[in-house]
Amino acid sequence: MPLANYLRNESGLCGTKIVCAEGDCGACTVLVAKDTDKNGKLNFQSVNSCIMPLYLLDGASVVTVEGLASSTLSGQVLHEVQEKMVDNNGAQCGYCTPGFVCAMADLAERCKLEGKTITEKKAKNFLTGNLCRCTGYQPIIDAAVAIDLDKMELMQERYHDAGWIADAEKMKKTPVELLGSTKKIFLPVSLSEAINIKHNHPDIRVVSGSTDIGVVVNKGKLVTDKVLGLYHIEELRKIWADDSHVHVGAAATLTEFEKFLEKDIPEMSRMIHIFASPQIKNQATVIGNVVNASPIADTIPFLIVSDALVVLQGSNGSREVILKDFYLGYKKLDLKPDELVVKIKIPKPKKSEKVKLYKVSMRKDLDISAVTFAGIVEVDKGVILNARIALGGVAATVIRLFDIEKKIIGEPFTRGTLEKHALTLGQYISPLSDLRASKEYRMKLAHNFFLKFYDEVSMEAKS
């Protein structure tokens, strides 16, 4: 059962609303703390409760819109965020409001903890996951920037309870097996247990963030009878870097990934920034995006041009596969029934390599792409030394344009060169028409991305 349904129908907490039931509108936003920060306080993050199954909340704390205001003897005292939403007419019909309030509380909590002020830009970035049809957003933006962080009580302070946190930590170190008559849920705490479970139940659903499965289940297209949750496995939640690679564990979220890459691969960090909402990024994992294997997944083009390696582990040991070889066809993976993807290794781009990532969707933010592009180029004295290019949304999988890459090496880095090769794209890609774009538009975008790639790289080289 999704958290939102539990809150509304079992707990009588109807402030949390369900609108789209697919994590795309934010009306169901609540704060969830799955772990603690370095001070041992609950680390609350906003999530979409409509696609958050209860079984992924073992040992977690949840604060809903009802929990933001505090009740005192003299009545209810609104949270600073709620106060400012009232003052700025941030609510009209009120249906999206609890979600906005929770997302904004996350923004305020984070800013206060990091000692930052809430700017208009920051507010917009934090609220991309919430749709409002009444206000036109301006009153909500005004409310966000009016928040007085000094006056605000932190949720991690109000709900701090050292005893409960210690209990929760213990809870999370204990493996869970829920074996119902129709449903089986496993939450192992070590990788070896997880592999063992996968070995015994090859048809089990591996779930980390549930941002995709949660939607499919809500829409009645899938019944998850057996579930393997990875989030209690400490080693899978890590992201780290050595000299040559960035390593991303299977349960690491996009939020963590985005933050980690800010320094090493800023272009990718920026891409993650626009492609999903904070709520989704707090739940969804990088590996989830990779194994979902959609031709329009937004992380894949970059990972493909980076020659990222997928690390798989099964009962017979582990192996590494180059990502492009991991995809055998539309949503078909080189993955044995008893194997788990445990991490992905991303080679760091060289200083001399220029990376550009593009995506086009119907709406710029929080939208599924029509076409994606990733390009890496290394130019020396006007000559292309090395180029790697991938396109998504133009074939059954994200594709690497090896032929073009081969031909382009040694050619002068000019707009003419890029345009010449762009004109040959028809040989390599076969886009389809669907609701996101016609094939003609997709073709034109692929072509224009080549030109944009040249224009931007050459412009940066000049400046």
């Binding site: 609104l78 009209q92 009120g94 119907m362 609701l435 975008l445």
Partner: protein, 772 residues
């Protein structure tokens, strides 16, 4: 004094703390059933058989209901021709066909899979073009004709001929259609619905179930957004819940999922308009000939009125000396298109704004100059094609003021220079206007009633036929009552809208909620105040009314206007005698004087003659203008709004804060319609963009980087309550300026000089037409 002040929305605290109760937030009763709605599998044809025997075997399923279970299976606001559930002929794909009542959503989902529907499929009609060819028409609008447009088109210096095509729009109210029906004693039914039109909901429920109107009560506490989508189209879902409640004698809940709601319910009408326009060297329009076609979808619904309003608004803010305006709506195999904020007005208004943009590009002049010379005049050129005088005209004032305050000329120069740089980005600028006619064009709807209960502690309950959907109508009613009695607004509580208190009400629509219901509240309060003044007057008359001596009954001819209500007190300004409001109430009560008031209000002076097609169709006009500067990515066609400035004439607003919120919300909804909101259908007719994943309303990042909203000071609107003006719909029409700004940007790279795009101008539409 509470009128004119920015007091907060009366539900603001409930909204931000999650305590406001919407239909689906009502606690589930133990015997209650959930109702799932199943739709037709194809777009056209007939239903041959529905086999649900297997579905009934699913544990938790209480029943499956079909068209035949209704006593009368027909409804429709204007023409009762639409089935509640399809009995035989299919109107559109996913049209409600059967109901499943069960204990849980899971049981409904499982039962749905077991229901077999046999159909005989027929060829469907989807587009306006196909419908015209097939001669499939729903209705025609009266033709507006003035002067001799044909001769003008022959003799004019310039003529442009073209088409204007705009798509539909999903309402995307956050709360999908929702109703719970409770069976009461003696066959009565109480319906809690998310409806903009409780009276129609009551009537449809009663009629369909074979009940008297008096056996059904429809209650609306609030809606999570309506935008017109719950004006007519809340009614059949309410009837579904009521049917199940009646049949099973259990409370029944219909809550559509967002996907079902988007697939099953109507949207804004797509239009395809053909025109010929004649103009002089300066761009002054000499004549306009236009033929409008609206896609009405499968049933009549509100289409005739919507088509009328499109015609009423094709003049925009501009004088059309010679014109011939015709309109027809086609019938297709699509969800029945319905009311949506603007109600045809946007499709008419945008046509003329598009034409003007084209004229400017054709003449290679700034479109602002073309707009300016075409604006309605003050003493001449001031009569609409339908013969209504545009009085208290502030259009020129608005356009000029906004031109200055938005730095239009400076931005134009910057854009000229920017676009010469050819750096992969292209900018455009355009200002458009709105002159929105306020009144239902169906005259009988311009009425309202209100019930005001003054309690002995000095607090007041107000009930009206207006429904609250976020627009703040309740807050405005609260302010009017508080203003009358001179008490704090917090002492006035707006009660749920209910057909047992306020009956024969009009839908909360046409931007008129505060106008007609506010007018009624004012009258109800004034009647109570008159009695209270009388009591006050007699209290100080020297006579002691101790229960033996009866206070005389009210004589309205006695002028007591010197007795005023202020600061929770009642004063005699001549004698300085004063009582607290509460004291006076007590005195009135003990003298057996009524502290309740019910009043009826109708808009005076409306007189549009449907035979001559001239006269006062509207009570007044709400005016405004907006200017937007946009930037296009020339590689991808992606669009950014760099800046929008809006200036609105809202008369003397009752609550400026709430009104500004209406302006920003409507504007964003308006440019959503013309940019990202693209309804995409499968060739079978099935709507594929049926959730926020695939249907893109504006996101917070899509808001203009700079966004200024100002209100014009205007105290002249004596025709309306408190000299205010209606605000709900008009600013939506201003979203058009984003679309015309896109056209303007594209003109800088256009081979023909007059770029042609359809609406919505998605990235794809922009990129694929760039350079043409």
């Amino acid at each position: 004094m509470s009128v004119g002040k920015n007091i907060r929305h009366d539900s603001a605290i409930g909204h931000v703390s999650g305590q406001s109760v919407f239909v689906d937030d009502r606690p589930r009763m133990k015997t209650e059933v959930l109702v799932g709605v199943g739709g037709c599998p194809v777009s056209a044809g007939t239903i041959k058989r529905i086999d649900y025997a297997e579905a009934l075997k699913i544990p938790g399923v209480h029943g499956v209901f079909l068209a035949r279970d209704f006593v009368v299976n027909k409804w429709g606001t204007i023409v009762a021709e639409q089935p509640l559930l399809v009995d035989e002929k299919i109107g559109y794909i996913d049209e409600p066909l059967y109901l499943i009542a069960a204990d849980s959503d899971e049981a409904i989902a499982r039962a749905k899979k077991l229901i077999k529907v046999e159909v005989e499929e027929k060829k469907a009609i989807f587009t306006i073009d196909d419908a015209i060819v097939a001669d499939s028409f729903l209705c025609a609008a009266p033709t507006f004709k003035r002067g001799d447009v044909d001769s003008v088109l022959l003799s004019a210096p310039h003529v442009l001929k073209g088409e204007f095509v705009c798509g539909g729009q999903e309402h995307f109210y956050m709360e999908s259609q929702a109703t719970i029906a409770y069976p009461l004693e003696n066959g009565q039914i109480e319906v809690h619905s998310s409806s903009q039109h409780p009276t129609e909901t009551q009537h449809v429920v009663a009629y369909a179930l074979g009940l008297d109107y008096s056996q059904v009560v429809c209650i609306v506490k609030r809606m999570g957004g309506g935008f017109g989508g719950k004006e007519s189209q809340a009614a059949h879902f309410a009837a579904f819940a009521a049917l199940v409640a009646q049949k099973l004698n259990r409370p029944a809940r219909v809550i559509l999922t967002k996907d079902d709601d988007m697939m099953m319910t109507g949207k804004r009408h797509p239009f395809k308009n053909f025109y010929e326009v004649a103009f002089d060297d300066q761009g002054k329009i000499l004549g306009l000939k236009a033929k409008l076609y609206a896609n009405g979808g499968a049933y009549v619904d509100l289409t005739p009125s919507i088509l009328d309003r499109a015609l009423f608004h094709i003049d925009g803010c501009y004088y059309l000396e010679h014109c011939l305006i015709e309109g027809r709506a086609v019938r297709t195999n699509q969800h029945s298109n319905t009311a949506f904020r603007g109600f045809g007005g946007p499709q008419g208004n945008m046509t003329i704004e598009s034409i003007i943009e084209d004229i400017a590009h054709y003449l290679k002049v700034d479109s602002f100059s073309v707009r300016k010379i075409n604006l309605y005049g003050i003493n001449e050129r001031n009569v609409t094609p339908y013969g209504q005088l545009v009085d208290n005209n502030v259009l020129s004032e608005i356009f000029e003021k906004l031109h200055r305050s938005s730095d239009y000329e400076k931005h134009r120069l910057e854009i000229e220079a920017f676009n010469k740089k050819k750096n992969g980005k292209l900018r455009g600028l355009s200002m458009t206007g709105v002159k929105f006619g306020i009144a239902f064009t169906a005259k009988h709807l311009n009425q309202g009633n209100a019930l005001v209960n003054v309690h002995l502690d000095g607090t007041v309950q107000v009930s009206t036929g207006a429904t609250e959907m976020g627009q703040g109508v309740n807050t405005k009613m609260q302010q009017i009552a508080a203003f009358c009695f001179g008490i704090p607004a917090t002492n006035v509580v707006l009660m749920p809208t209910s057909t047992e208190k306020n009956h024969n009400t009009s839908p909360t629509a046409a931007s008129s909620g505060a106008d007609i219901n506010g007018g009624a509240v004012l009258k109800a309060c004034e009647a109570i105040m008159a009695r209270l003044r009388w009591v006050f007057h007699h209290h100080y008359s020297g006579v002691i009314y101790d229960g033996v001596v009866e206070m005389p009954t009210l004589d309205e001819s006695v002028d007591l206007s010197h007795i005023v209500f202020k600061d929770s007190k009642v004063f005699n300004t001549k004698t300085n005698q004063e009582l607290t409001f509460k004291e006076l109430l007590k005195i009135a009560y003990f003298n057996r004087v009524s502290l309740g008031g019910y009043a009826f209000f109708k808009t005076e002076g409306l007189g549009f003659d449907k035979k001559t097609l001239t006269g006062k169709a509207f009570n007044y006009f709400t005016n405004g203008a907006a200017v937007s500067m946009v930037e296009i990515d020339e590689y991808t066609g992606e669009l950014k709004i760099l800046r929008s400035d809006i200036l609105m004439d809202l008369g003397r607003p009752i609550n400026p804060g709430i009104d500004v919120g209406q302006v920003s919300g409507a504007f964003v909804q308006g440019y959503g319609w013309v940019t990202t909101e693209n309804l995409f259908y499968h060739e079978s007719g099935k709507l594929l963009s049926h959730s926020p994943t695939t249907y893109k309303i504006p996101n917070i990042q899509d808001t203009p980087r700079v966004f200024n909203i100002e209100l014009l000071e205007n105290h002249t609107n004596t025709q309306n309550v408190m000299r205010s003006k209606a605000v709900g719909e008009p600013p939506l029409l201003l979203g058009t300026c984003v679309w015309t700004a896109v056209k303007n940007a594209m003109s800088y790279r256009s081979a023909t000089g007059i770029p042609q795009i359809t609406s919505p101008a998605t990235s794809e539409v922009i990129l694929m037409n760039l350079g043409k």
